[in-house]
Symmetry: C2
Subunit: 362 residues, 2 copies
């Protein structure tokens, strides 16, 4: 167990934006909420999965919906309390700890808000090690954990509890509720006991996010190359360096979908990079060649500061470095690739790990 | 308490089709299920609201969605058991009795199926005294009863439990779940204790449906005018007599919507009647004059047999009598008209009771 405060929250938020791969929602609002909660309730207890009692009731939680909407309709906080009441009365058991189901983006922060305000510890683990747009895209799911009972709640006070036959149905049903609630809602799903968390989650991912964030912060202080530091901490690869020249973006079916085009900085080349996204950046391609694809992580960093840029933050003229980060090995299994690989998102590409794509091209 | 069997089920189904005002789903599938349940489990106990213990847990239940879809995707029965399990584990209490929330159409039958197979009594009461297309259109709602917790479940095994801030939100959220589940699902809502049922429901409406059905059956046996008998039992009015010449029907947003046009039988007049429907028949108009409108009941009966014809049963050439039946007085309050009057459905008409419209025109 360790306690975290303002500095750690800032670092986690920064790192989670890198792991958010452009999506997952800008953690900014979540960060403000977490800082406010720490101000009000004191430091947050972070525990590792191994510290959990085997029968502890652990509730992964966060938001669902289009991050672009989240900016306009921030959570009130109340909705999560309502979710927890629903869970506790449905399961007849008190919640022992909260946990992110997604360490990328705003969903790294919301469990911290709840942990502080409900005086519960937060588990240093998640189910993605990054951000993904759909409920079933969790290593929890790969490990046979059910997303149900799943609770969706809005800032008005509506809650919905789903018991779906599988995790794809949990996604479908919860997504419709979220859209009806205004395209952004709070969710709790993959409720587990302690022993399930130990065997079915990705451990120490909050700490991993914090390390990434800290490396960017320290690089600035020390006048070091922040992008290089991020690549070191994440064991990632530089894919492309350039300037954003086009963003094609729409909100469709509760997702922010589109394509970003980046022009190389070298004035003597016409090379460009395109990145397809559906909330998250999913496929980076240049000169007809795929450079990195889901479930590996694609992240866009500011060329000067190394700070991550979300898809909604991408602007014409942004000077950036696009990096690729190897995903957790669990995502590289047959089931992992079927769940969150390029084929699932409709891209005509067979998954090849980013390190092979990059090294193969050297 | 009385027990009912095959004959009563047949009569209730027939009467409920009249009260279904063209919608509410043809009770045919529900009737078959109820007959099968009686065959298997024995007679069904029907109790009046006054016989309920004040703290009895009473669950109004039925289906939601487009009746046209129900015909293609009949309920499996399992979904209702799943709903009840969800309710019991959520409320921590056993269900004492079931009840129709709608005595019109198929939803008169489904509580009977459940009553038989779960060996629970069914309460002789409902919340409409007819059929209506939306969840909040219940005298329960007019009397301040919450539709939540509301459960939606499908034949695949998915269930959703909603706690909505009001009954319009219960409608919105449950409707989206129903559409996602395939445009037809089983629901349980307006869960009440016995004392609430006593004060907030329409009493003896199953018996009323049975009386209507019996009058049609007996008229046939006695070679009497069945339409006249129905008008006597319901204190209704003949609005129009003619032949269906056009049906404009589409399934939209989970509803069967459209307009039926009926040509008068008198060959020397060009008079026609149009009926607008949204699952139910809502507004009957002829010669620029409204003859009957929601919340009063509009029903189409076969000219020869007096048997009701549902909107999905209306065919070109059907020879029919359109009748208007005064609704329960609770629907004629300001709140009742706001909830289910012509304005709510987008018709530019102020509500006038059918008896005034008819007598005023005589």
């Amino acid at each position: 167990m360790r306690e975290i405060g303002r500095q750690e929250i800032e670092d986690i938020a920064m790192g989670a934006t890198v792991l958010g791969t452009g999506g997952g929602g800008d953690p900014y609002i979540g960060k403000l909420m977490a800082l406010q909660a720490v101000e009000e309730f004191g430091p947050i207890q972070v525990i590792s999965a191994d510290e959990l009692d085997d029968d502890a009731l652990v509730v992964p939680c966060g938001m669902q919906g289009a991050p672009t909407v989240l900016i306009e309709k921030p959570p009130s906080g109340k909705e999560m309390f309502a979710s927890f009441e629903t869970i506790e009365s449905f399961l007849g058991k008190k919640v022992s700890a909260v946990m992110p189901f997604e360490v990328g983006g705003v969903n790294s922060m919301l469990p911290l808000v709840l942990a502080a305000s409900m005086r519960l510890p937060v588990v240093d683990a998640d189910g993605m090690g990054r951000a993904f747009p759909e409920v079933q895209m969790e290593v929890f799911s790969l490990n046979g954990v059910s997303a149900s009972p799943m609770v969706v709640s809005d800032e008005k006070g509506n809650t919905a509890l789903f018991q779906a036959i599988d995790n794809v149905w949990a996604e479908r049903l919860s997504r419709k509720a979220t859209i009806q609630m205004g395209a952004s809602a709070m969710i709790a799903c993959y409720i587990m006991n302690g022993s399930e968390v130990k065997t079915s989650s990705l451990h120490h991912t909050l700490t991993f996010a914090e390390e990434i964030g800290r490396s960017i912060r320290i690089a600035k202080t020390n006048n070091e190359d922040a992008v290089k530091k991020v690549l070191e901490v994440t064991r990632g690869f530089e894919l492309f360096r350039g300037k954003v020249i086009d963003i094609n973006r729409k909100t469709d079916g509760g997702f922010a979908k589109g394509v970003a085009t980046i022009e190389g900085v070298d004035p003597f080349t016409e090379e460009t990079l395109t990145i397809n996204f559906q909330n998250e950046l999913l496929l980076a391609k240049s000169g007809g060649r795929v450079l990195c694809m889901t479930p590996d992580l694609i992240s866009v960093l500011d060329m000067e500061t190394g700070r991550p840029i979300t898809t909604e933050g991408l602007r014409y003229g942004s000077r950036c470095v696009v990096i690729g980060i190897p995903c957790n090995e669990q995502w590289r299994t047959e089931k992992g690739i079927a769940t969150a690989g390029p084929g699932y998102f409709g891209y005509d590409a067979d998954y090849v790990p980013v390190e092979n794509l990059i090294r193969g091209g050297e």
